[in-house]
Symmetry: C2
Subunit: 137 residues, 2 copies
DNA sequence: ACGGATTTGACAATCGTTTTCAATAAGTCC
DNA sequence: GGACTTATTGAAAACGATTGTCAAATCCGT
């Protein structure tokens, strides 16, 4: 009952819904919006409320278990990545499939640019969007 | 050549509202959301409808006269940049001030990453967020 | 199984943005 | 200038994604 936790005050109980959401994200193997994930769960016979999908994706994201991006329309898309380490993505705009790309080149570029202009670096984005070989044929 | 095409679909009449919006963006010297710009116009005594601000920012953006980014919350922010050529940004998350950073390094990285995985490159994002020297005091 | 705290989910509310459509005003012709 | 045509404006309604509400369901330690 003490809260000597760190920044990530993760969930305390394990529920079927949370497991289903995690599984669906893993099976997706790419970026999905909350609504897409909800649709896929429904199609799969799982009954999980849309609100619950949003809440859990949120929790997973702030726990660092999933990555979040924004589409050019501003919609949040989530992905369960293979590594918890910082990385960037190559994303297919057609099917959401993506590749994780670590890049020391980008990291040093971001730091260099910030310092060169007297900024304290906080964050950076660097994602490549394209059409994957499967979708382009 | 592609720049000529973009401008052909531009607005046909010049209005006080459009001029006021452009001026406000220039004066801002950084990224602003549609609502922030609307507030600044109002504070300045200009009466421009919020809808008109949205519409003109949209038009300016698709004409290539302003750049658009998304905040981590998904809100669209706009900036009148000094150049029409492709570039990226270093943005202060406190005040919106930003620096344009051209980077052949990023361009080649994006192309290389896409090709290496069989993707047809479509677009890419690469922005650095931080606190500018003025805001970090 | 009991009981209390956590989690769920249907619904309402919110937020940024777009659409609608009647009123306004820019550009043109006289 | 004045009449005319039509792009543009703007208040309000509609919209889609996301968040808040809160009673009911569920998990879990005892
Ligand atoms: Zn694809
Ligand atoms: Zn990085
Ligand atoms: Zn600043
Ligand atoms: Zn670039």
């Amino acid at each position: 009952m003490s809260d000597m936790n760190r920044k990530s005050t993760g969930p305390h109980r394990s529920t079927k819904q949370r497991a289903a959401i995690k599984d669906a994200l893993v099976a997706a193997r790419g970026f999905r919006s909350a609504q897409e994930l909800h649709d896929e769960l429904k199609a799969e016979g799982q009954r999980v409320g849309l609100t619950t999908v949003y809440r859990n994706l949120q929790a997973l994201a702030s726990a660092g278990e999933v990555d979040v991006l924004r589409t050019s329309e501003g919609e949040a898309i989530y992905r369960r990545c293979g590594t918890g380490e910082h990385h960037h993505h190559l994303v297919c705009t057609e099917c959401g499939n993506s590749v994780e790309v670590g890049s020391e080149e980008i990291e040093s570029w971001a730091k260099r640019v910030a310092k060169h202009h007297g900024f304290t670096p906080v964050d950076h984005t660097a994602e490549v969007f394209g059409i994957c070989s499967g979708c382009s044929k």
